[in-house]
Amino acid sequence: MLSVSRVYKTFNIGTVNEKTALKNICLHLTKGDFVTLIGGNGSGKSTLLNCIAGVHDVDDGSITIDGVDVTKIPEHKRAGILGRVFQDPMVGTAANMGIEENLALAYRRGKKRTFKWGISSKERELYKEMLSQLDLGLENRLSDKVGLLSGGQRQALTLLMATLNKPKLLLLDEHTAALDPKTAAKVLKLSDHFITEGSLTTLMVTHNMRDAIKYGNRLIMMHEGRILLDIKDEAKQKLTVEDLLQRFGRASGEEFTSDRALLA
């Protein structure tokens, strides 16, 4: 479904701030894969996601999604086959527009936008039904501005928008990192529900080792712009945090030192 081959990305080339974020990344996801992506700060996991989404151009290598080479396709055109949720709950939704308007924008992702009315009454019924799945009472607040919602509510709404028309690939970029633990757990559970229900191919970045182990069928660990570990299926089911730390140490020759990942 997703094929990243020999991708390189360096920021601020030729300056003192030059930083190589991705070094020779090769990654293949098969249809229905739910991959959790973990790594310390600056390991390149968010950069990888942004390269796949088209936010950054890659310096070298190619990215193919569902058989289409998207390496040169701009972000807004790739969006049609992608679903994205961001770390910052404010980023995924338009605050000054209504809940239903946000959903309508997402519903038209990848379709040609015309002079037809921006939202139909038939859609409203659909949105109501989908919002009730979130169990946040949003189904009765269709026309409320999204800016009135809490971070958790906004993130749940973004998740719904991202999965609304079954994306070929779902990209979750630490989408629970900015939420309080209780809300984070709820949003994560919701994500898992949507992913399993729609058997969506998913790449989820997380800082939290336990979550990375608990969810998905495959775990990838990145370090300094490279993929260090790639643990699949049965091997992943047996994995514990201690194992992961040990294997990280052996593979990188360093100790894993991200407090955020360990303490979470």
């Binding site: 969006a79 980023v91 995924g92 338009a94 605050a95 527009m97 308007e101 936008r113 002079f115 009315w117």
Partner: protein, 317 residues
């Protein structure tokens, strides 16, 4: 007095067209677009020189619309394709338009006295010439007010429809959250361009209508127009409700009229006309800083309400 108020109403309606244009860039797209200073003069220049050379006034106004749209397109391309900051893109187009407007006009100003304008047909209508209006001395105002109302109402209706369509929603989303918009498959660059094109088209129409009303076009008439537009937008938002989009659009018109009424009254009270732009600038500065003032005032009102204990608690912190 009635004459003054009706005069303000008339001017307010013509400037409301520009105010709506500025609202699109300033509030919907979140860009302070200085192109308008050039495109309002451009609209006036195109309309005046066309009418002067015998073109039908309605066609001349339409050409002004197209000219303004081209100016907006220019700013849009500078900003989105060449990645020049929006403010600077607007300034560049504005400066370029000064020369272009001089070329269109051929000289610094063109008079339209005794020429047919868009208002002429309305002046010929018998009801505007009736005894009551003549007696009040407002005969020349009524046709402009009527046509102004028709145009403003038409524009509001069209824009209300447009910003409800899929494309219109995409423009609103682009202004609200560009990152999210791109993630939802919206070509944000194109949406910014469309917004600037519509906005400057409206501004140029406003310029064309003003030139025909005052019977001349002047190369300098754009100076300070962005500030007048912003003042009108803010007055409209402060004084009138900002609930639904339709009411917002109507409040812009009311804001533009209120601004003209205020100006007419301060002039009547004896303020020198030369100080007008200073007065407008101060009004806008105060209006824009109201939220900031609010946050200064809140602790004071709180400590007044909370009495001495509130003040002491604050000191100990």
């Amino acid at each position: 007095m009635l004459q003054i108020l009706l005069g303000a109403l008339m001017l307010g309606l013509l400037w409301a067209v520009m105010t709506i244009g500025i609202y699109i860039t300033y509030r919907i797209l979140g860009i302070a677009d200085l192109t308008v200073e050039g495109s309002i003069a451009m609209g006036a220049a195109i309309a005046a020189s066309c009418i002067y050379s015998g073109v039908n006034p309605y066609l001349a106004t339409l050409l002004a619309l197209l000219g303004g749209m081209a100016a907006g397109l220019c700013t849009g391309l500078l900003h989105t394709r060449l990645k020049i900051p929006a403010l600077l893109s607007g300034i560049l187009t504005m400066i370029a338009l000064y020369s272009i407007n001089l070329r269109i006009l051929g000289k610094a100003n063109v008079s339209l006295l005794r020429m047919d304008t868009v208002y002429t047909n309305f002046m010929k209508m018998s009801f505007t010439n009736n005894a009551v209006f003549t007696k009040l001395g407002v005969t020349h105002l009524i046709p402009v007010i009527i046509l102004g109302m028709i145009i403003v109402f038409g524009i509001i209706t069209i824009l209300y429809w447009f910003f409800g369509t899929e494309i219109g929603c995409s423009i609103r989303a682009t202004g609200d959250n560009p990152q999210m918009s791109r993630a939802q498959g919206i070509n944000t660059n194109n949406m910014i361009i469309i917004g600037l094109v519509i906005s400057n088209g409206l501004v140029a129409v406003s310029g064309a209508l003003i030139a025909q009303q005052q019977s001349f076009a002047d190369i300098q008439m754009g100076t300070g127009s962005i500030v007048i537009g912003l003042a009108s937008v803010i007055i409209g938002e402060v004084l009138f409700s900002k609930r639904s989009f339709f009411i917002r659009l109507v409040s812009l018109v009311l804001g533009a009229i209120t601004y003209r009424v205020i100006i007419a009254l301060v002039l009547k009270m004896g303020m020198p006309a030369n100080d007008l732009k200073l007065f407008t600038a101060i009004t806008v500065a105060v209006a824009l800083s109201l939220p900031e003032f609010g946050s200064y005032l809140r602790p004071i009102t709180k400590s007044i309400k909370g009495g001495a204990s509130g003040a002491i608690r604050k000191q100990s912190l």
